[in-house]
Symmetry: C2
Subunit: 350 residues, 2 copies
């Protein structure tokens, strides 16, 4: 009988946060690729572009003029997906035609006045102002909204429609599907084990040492055992922090250092401005603020699409959409690559 | 108080097959786009390309020579994600590190000897040979495998790595996550109502007439109420057929006509070879063949990414990955556009 070798033999792995299984097929990295090639994004934007509506002092489409901002700058999206005041759809008792009210708001947050200052080339101090702004926004929105989603779409390959470094904050009057599912799995685990799933996970990864990318006194970056995207990572609080607004000054300082290191590793991997979507998840807010927060651990997830080079990405299409996510290298292989990558000096500064 | 207008007011809709909610934001179609543009695929490939490993008579990478095939041609993928004989991972009782065995096979199926013969420009008779081959493959694989997934990735935008018209058939020794979830929802509905969810859905859509794209004696094409992709459609059996292998000759003939009409509408919508991923779902097979098939209704789903033009697609990124799928036009608006589109004459033949 053959021995099982995870880097050779396909298998499935459970994501305990969603209950979904991922198919891992490492032997598939060898297949030839003659499909779509991405245009690699380089870190070569001009500092300022008078036609870019996110730059300081520029007049946006709706006639509003941006201030000459010096660090971060937040405004309500001119074309928000979620508006504050919309009526509720009529209720229906047909299980096949169910609609619900959705209220919310969408904000855009610029990281820095200069268009060429992406996170890996910002100083830890500049990144700190970004984190401080995340916390300020979160505190402002959490009073009213059940879910506050801070997320960044970076790069054209991840649907980013403006190259100026920025993120978005969408707040909802309800629990969206993904956090809802996660909340349920975290609470079930907590009810059964009396501990937070991700607190336990952090402790185990620190012992196993197979998927660690960055170890920091307050934070752990791992390629999760159940990663779907090729170089997916989770950045997890080591201190049982439940929401981003509960971070201490030291944790914020260390987070700035970790974000700089992780995004530098990403950019260095294929020598390009590495595309990804990232977002923060922590305990729900608004009307759910007073529920038990202990099942939750604050974490950010990075979903980067590139697989083999700056121009070859992984597609989640036919089989993935119809059946289950499939990946072409193991989480351990991805973690090895990222761990060994230089996290100090950005390739553009060599 | 404002009245609720679905084409103006954002709301969420339930997908009863998955239990997930989709956020619908029709007012968002107006926002400007300066993000990634796709290269529209035209129907202008040469009939034959001696360097394309899917063409008749060409020698593939592994040294095998394709026959001079006249209609369809099926072979085992030279770089399969799923192999037949792989050992099982060691079992673990840690809920955070769960892996399972996955066995299977992956086949590639060419639709036609000519590279420029996509489905909309094939004759119904030629499309029939494709359906006949789907059924032959399904019957062959269903004996051994629990889930047989027939799917087509069309176009570079949907990760298709070879432009010769083809689909794939991946068979698994287990129920993958998506069919598993669907199976559960269908069985719960059946237990409660004594009818198949999609049989009921078809009956209701035929009365409502708001989302119908094509009505055929044996088939219904609708943009589902809970559609996620901009012009997503479901092609559903009207006759309570449970698996693709149970189709009658007449149903196969009518299916060929519907596929030609639907793919012609798609191509005509933005005057390009419309990219999509599609796949067939019906009752499970293999060790599950003898379970009650009545909760299931045979259907195909089409996921096309284009939103506004041949070059502007919808991205499911930050908010969608972290929270929930979000769409920019209502299912009814998309159905209207597709219904009104010419389904008889392909734009390239004008
Ligand atoms: O098998 P292909 O066409 O080379 O590959 C394509 O379809 C597969 C199945 O959906 C995906 O896993 C790949 O990411 C995609 O590029
Ligand atoms: O808001 P943006 O950056 O214009 O748009 C981008 O992010 C949104 C939120 O993830 C998505 O809905 C859009 O499809 C994507 O292009």
């Amino acid at each position: 009988k053959m021995d099982f070798v995870p880097t050779e033999h396909q298998h499935t792995r459970l994501n305990p946060l969603t209950g979904q299984w991922v198919l891992v097929c490492p032997h598939r990295m060898q297949r030839p690729w003659s499909g779509q090639e991405e245009t690699p994004q380089k870190n070569d934007l001009p500092e300022f572009d008078p036609s870019n509506p996110l730059c300081p002092g520029v007049v946006r489409g709706n006639g509003e003029k941006n201030p000459i901002y010096q660090s971060t700058f937040v405004f309500t999206n001119d074309f928000p997906a979620l508006l504050e005041n919309v009526p509720a759809p009529p209720s229906s008792d047909d299980p096949l035609f169910q609609a619900r009210q959705a209220r919310g708001t969408c904000r855009v947050m610029c990281f820095h006045p200069k268009s060429n200052k992406t996170l890996p080339v910002m100083t830890p101090k500049e990144i700190r102002t970004v984190i401080d702004e995340w916390i300020r926004q979160f505190k402002d929105l959490m009073v009213k909204y059940t879910w506050v989603q801070i997320f960044e779409n970076k790069g054209a390959a991840m649907g980013c429609s403006n190259p100026h470094p920025h993120c978005q904050i969408w707040a909802c009057s309800y629990m969206p599907t993904e956090p809802q599912t996660k909340d349920q799995h975290l609470r079930e685990y907590y009810a059964k084990h009396g501990t937070a799933l991700l607190d336990d996970y952090v402790a185990k990864e620190l012992v196993k040492k197979e998927r660690i990318v960055i170890e920091n006194p307050d934070w752990l970056v791992v390629v999760p055992y159940w990663a779907a995207w090729p170089f997916e990572t989770m950045l997890i609080s080591r201190n049982k922090v439940r929401r981003i607004c509960d971070l201490s000054q030291q944790e914020i300082n260390n987070l700035a250092v970790v974000i700089k290191e992780l995004t530098t590793k990403y950019d260095n991997l294929f020598k390009c401005s590495f595309p990804y979507s990232m977002g923060w998840h922590g305990a729900p807010t608004g009307d759910l603020t007073d529920e038990d927060v202990n099942p939750w651990t604050l974490h950010a997830t990075y979903y980067p699409p590139l697989l083999r080079s700056a121009s070859i990405r992984k597609f989640f299409v036919g089989f993935e959409l119809m059946c289950q996510t499939q990946r072409d290298l193991t989480a351990e292989q991805a973690a090895d690559r990222l761990r060994q990558m230089d996290g100090r000096t950005h390739y553009s500064l060599h």
